[in-house]
C-alpha cells in the first residue's frame, strides 16, 4: 500500500518546517564558538519554547480559519500574574500555577465566546480583548518587578540528566497532553472541519461551535503556559507592550512557516513549533555571523516571504480565475 505517501503529503508542511529548522540549527551550532554543546542547546531551547507555546496557541485558532491577535497579550498578562502568584511554599506555588493557567483558559474562553456566540470577526474581537488583557497586566505590574519561586524556575529552565533542556521536555509533554488529544478528538476534528468548510461541516452535523470554542479556550491555556515560562526565565513580571505585540505577530509568522494554512482547516501545531524554533534561529544565525542586530527584522522578513511563497505555487494551477479570490 502507499499509505505512507498520504501520510507524507499530510505532514509536508510540518516536515518542511522541521527541515528548515534543522538546516538552520546545524549552520548555527557549527559556527558557534562553543559548538553543539548542552549549554548552547539549552539557551536556544529556552528562547525558542516561548514562541513555540504562543505559536501553538495561534495554530489552534488559525485551524478554525480564525486568528487570535490577543495571544501575545494573554502571554504578558499571565506573566504579570505569575510574578505575583507563583511564589512561596511548594503548595502556594502549585496553586499559583493553577490560577495562572486558569486565567489563560478564561481569556481564551472569552475570546471564543465573543467570536462564536457574539459572531464578531476574530480580528476585531481579539484586538479588543487583547487590549483588555494588556490593560489588566499593566495594572498588575505598572513597572517591571515581582518574583517567582526560583527553585521551580531553575528546574524548568535547566537540564534534565544534565543533557536535555527541561523546557523542551515540558514542551514535548504539552504536545502529548494537549495537542495530540485535541487533534484526535471529535472537537479537534470539528475545529478542522469548520476551518475548511463551515457549510459542509454544518450539513454533516459536526459540532462546529463546540470545536471552535475548544480551540480558542485551549489557545488561551497554551499562551498562559508560555507566560509562565517567560516568568521562569526572567524572574519578573513585565507588561512590555512591544514584546506582547511582537509575540502575536511572530506567532502568525511561525504558524505560516510551520505549514498551517491561514485559510483554516490545514496544518499542525507541531509544524508551528518547528516554525517558531526556526524563526528564533534566524536571530541566532545573525549573531554567530557577526551581523549587526539591526539586520534581524529585515532577515526575518525575507525568510518569511520565501517560506510563504512556497505555499503560493498552487495558484498557478487554477483554471477558473474566480477561485483566486475564494
Amino acid at each position: 500500500m502507499k499509505d505512507w505517501r498520504y501520510w507524507l503529503a499530510e505532514q509536508r508542511g510540518t516536515l518542511l518546517a522541521l527541515g528548515i529548522f534543522i538546516v538552520m540549527f546545524i549552520i548555527y551550532t557549527s559556527n558557534h564558538p562553543a559548538g553543539f554543546t548542552a549549554n548552547v542547546v539549552q539557551t536556544a531551547a529556552n528562547k525558542g519554547v516561548l514562541l513555540a507555546f504562543v505559536a501553538m496557541a495561534q495554530t489552534l485558532v488559525v485551524i478554525t480559519a480564525g486568528i487570535d491577535l490577543s495571544v501575545g497579550m494573554i502571554f504578558l498578562l499571565t506573566n504579570c500574574l505569575a510574578s505575583w502568584l507563583v511564589v512561596g511554599t511548594p503548595m502556594q506555588t502549585t496553586l499559583g500555577v493553577i490560577a495562572v493557567l486558569a486565567v489563560g483558559l478564561l481569556c481564551g474562553a472569552v475570546n471564543g465566546a465573543i467570536v462564536i456566540y457574539g459572531r464578531l470577526q476574530p480580528i476585531v474581537a481579539t484586538i479588543a480583548t487583547g487590549a483588555v488583557y494588556y490593560g489588566i497586566g499593566l495594572l498588575l505590574r505598572p513597572f517591571p518587578g515581582g518574583s517567582v519561586n526560583e527553585d521551580l524556575a531553575d528546574a524548568m529552565t535547566g537540564r534534565v540528566f544534565d543533557v536535555v533542556p527541561a523546557s523542551l521536555v515540558v514542551l514535548f509533554a504539552i504536545v502529548l497532553l494537549i495537542w495530540v488529544p485535541f487533534s484526535r478528538s471529535v472537537l479537534g476534528r470539528a475545529a478542522y472541519a469548520a476551518g475548511s468548510s463551515e457549510t459542509a461541516a454544518y450539513m454533516s452535523g459536526v459540532p462546529i461551535r463546540r470545536g471552535k470554542f475548544a480551540a480558542y479556550t485551549l489557545a488561551g491555556l497554551l499562551a498562559a503556559i508560555g507566560g509562565l515560562f517567560l516568568t521562569f526565565f526572567t524572574y519578573t513580571g513585565d507588561a512590555a507592550y512591544a514584546s506582547g505585540n511582537a509575540y502575536t505577530l511572530f506567532s502568525i509568522a511561525a504558524v505560516v512557516l510551520g505549514g498551517v494554512s491561514l485559510f483554516g482547516g490545514k496544518g499542525s501545531a507541531i509544524g508551528a513549533i518547528f516554525g517558531a524554533l526556526a524563526f528564533r534561529t534566524i536571530g541566532d544565525l545573525l549573531f554567530v555571523f557577526d551581523f549587526d542586530p539591526l539586520w534581524q527584522p529585515l532577515f526575518q522578513g525575507v525568510i518569511l516571504l520565501i517560506a510563504v511563497s512556497l505555499g503560493a505555487f498552487a495558484l498557478f494551477r487554477v483554471r477558473n480565475r474566480l477561485e483566486w479570490f475564494l
Binding site: 499530510e10 478542522y192 459536526v206 483554516g264
Partner: protein, 515 residues
Amino acid sequence: MDSAVPLFRMEGISKRYGGVRALEKAELVVTSGSIHAILGENGAGKSTLIKVMAGVVAPDEGRMTLDGREVTFLSPAAANQAGIVCIFQELSLVPDLSVADNIVISDPPKRFGMIDRGAQRRIAEEALARAGAADIHPLALVKDLPLSRRQMVEIAKALARKPRILILDEATSALTAADVSKIFGVLKRLRAEGLALLYISHRMNEIAELADQCTVFRNGRNVASYKAGSKSDNEVVELMIGREYSHIFPPKPAAVPATAAPRLEARKLSWTDRLHNISLTVRAGEVVGLGGLDGQGQRELLLAFFGVLRGLSGEVLIDGKPVAISSPAAAREDRIGMALIPEDRKTEGLMLPMTVRENLSFAALDRLSKGGIIDRAAEQRLIDDMVGLLAIKTAGLDIPVGALSGGNQQKVVIAKWLMRQPRIILLNDPTRGIDVGTKQELYQLMRKLADAGAAILFYSTDYDELIGCCDRVLVLYDGAVKRELVGAEITERALIASALNIHGEESPVGLGASA
C-alpha cells in the same frame, strides 16, 4: 409495495422565502423498500422539500411523521439521528479532511475519548466498498479527488450512517456512466434491504430504470403521484408544465436575418469537463437565450466569454475576428465591448457597503477620467442618465447600495455596465430573487438594448422568460448545446423536453445559419 406501512409522511408542508412560496401544502408519503422519484422543473419546490426533510430548513407549517409519530428536526444532525440521510447536490464534504475522516464525520468511532483511527479506517473501507468505490483510498484528501470521485465518497458517507431513508438529490450529476451503473446496483440492493430511497434526478432514463413510485412537483405542490412506468415521458412533461403567473413581455421584432454577420461567435469551446465543443453565434440586435437545467455549464460558458476561465480550447470571435480575452478588464475594452451581469450580485456585481454612485461608475471609470483624475461633471451626467433610464429607486446616490431593494440593486448592476455602452451583454440569470415589476422593466430594457444594436446572451432558469424574451434559445445539457430553438419553436414543452434530454438523439445545432 402496496402492503408496506408508510415509514414517513409529510402533510400540509408550506415554506415561504420572503414573498416567494417555495412549498405550498405539499404532501409526500415514503414507504420502506421502495425507490421514490421526485420530479419537477427548476424552482418547483423539490430542493426545499428535501431540505425540510433533512432538517436544514424549518417549515412554516405542516407536520411530519416517522413511524406514525410526529417529528420535528431542528438541525441536519437531528434528522440524521432519526435515520434520514441526504446526499445534497452541493457536496457536503470537508475538503481538507481525508476521505475516511469525512465518511465518519457525523459520528466518529471513539476510544479513550479520542477518535479511533483504526476503526475509522475500517468503517470507511467498508462504506466505500458498499458504495462500489473501493478504488478510493481512505487516506486521500477530498480536495485532491475529482468531482465524480467526491460524489462516490458522499454516497459512501451517507451509507456509513446506516440510514432508514436515503435522499439522493441529483447525486449522480457528476458521475461517469460506469459509476452510475455501480450506484444503481447499490441502490437496488439497499431497496432490497428495506431502505426507503428518495431519488431526485432530471435524467428520465435513470428514473425509468430505478423508480417504483414517482411524484411530480409544480409551483411548490405535489401535483401527481403514480407508479413508475405508468405514464409516458410526454405525459410527465405535461404534468411538470404549467405555471400560474405570466409576465408581460415586450413584443419581439422581426427576426434578425440569419445572414447578418455575427457579433459574438464561439467555435468548439471546451473547458475542463464542464464545457464540451460549444459553438454558437449571437448577432447584433438579437436576444439569444441559454436554457436547460441549472448547472449544465451555462454559467461557465458566460465566464469563458468574459475571460475568467483559464485553459479554454476553441475559438471566440468578435465581429468575425478571433480574439483572446484574458480577463474581465480585457473583455470590457472598447474593441470587444462586453459586459457580464453576474448571477450573484452580492459578491460579483456590487460592493454592498459602498455608495450607489461609486458602484455605478466603477466599470466606466477609465472612460470618465483623464490622467487618472475623475471628471466629476461627466460622471454625474452619465449617472443621471442611467438612473433615469432604469428608473432606479433610491433615496440618494450617496447611500450604500446594500440599502436598496433586490430589484433596484440589480438595476444598479446593469446600469453600471450600460455606462460603458457595451456591444455584447451577457446576463447570468439576472431576475433571480427580484420582484415581478422590476422583472418586467428588465425585459423591456433588454429588448430596447437589442434594438439599439447590442448582442445579448441571456441565461435564465425561468422558462417563461426564455419564451417571452428570446429570439433563439440554446438548450445546454451536460456542458454541450443539445438543441437550438428558434422563434415559435420556443415553447415550455420543447424547453423542458430538451432540458431533460428526452430528444437526446437529435444532433446538436448551435451555429445557426452560419454553419
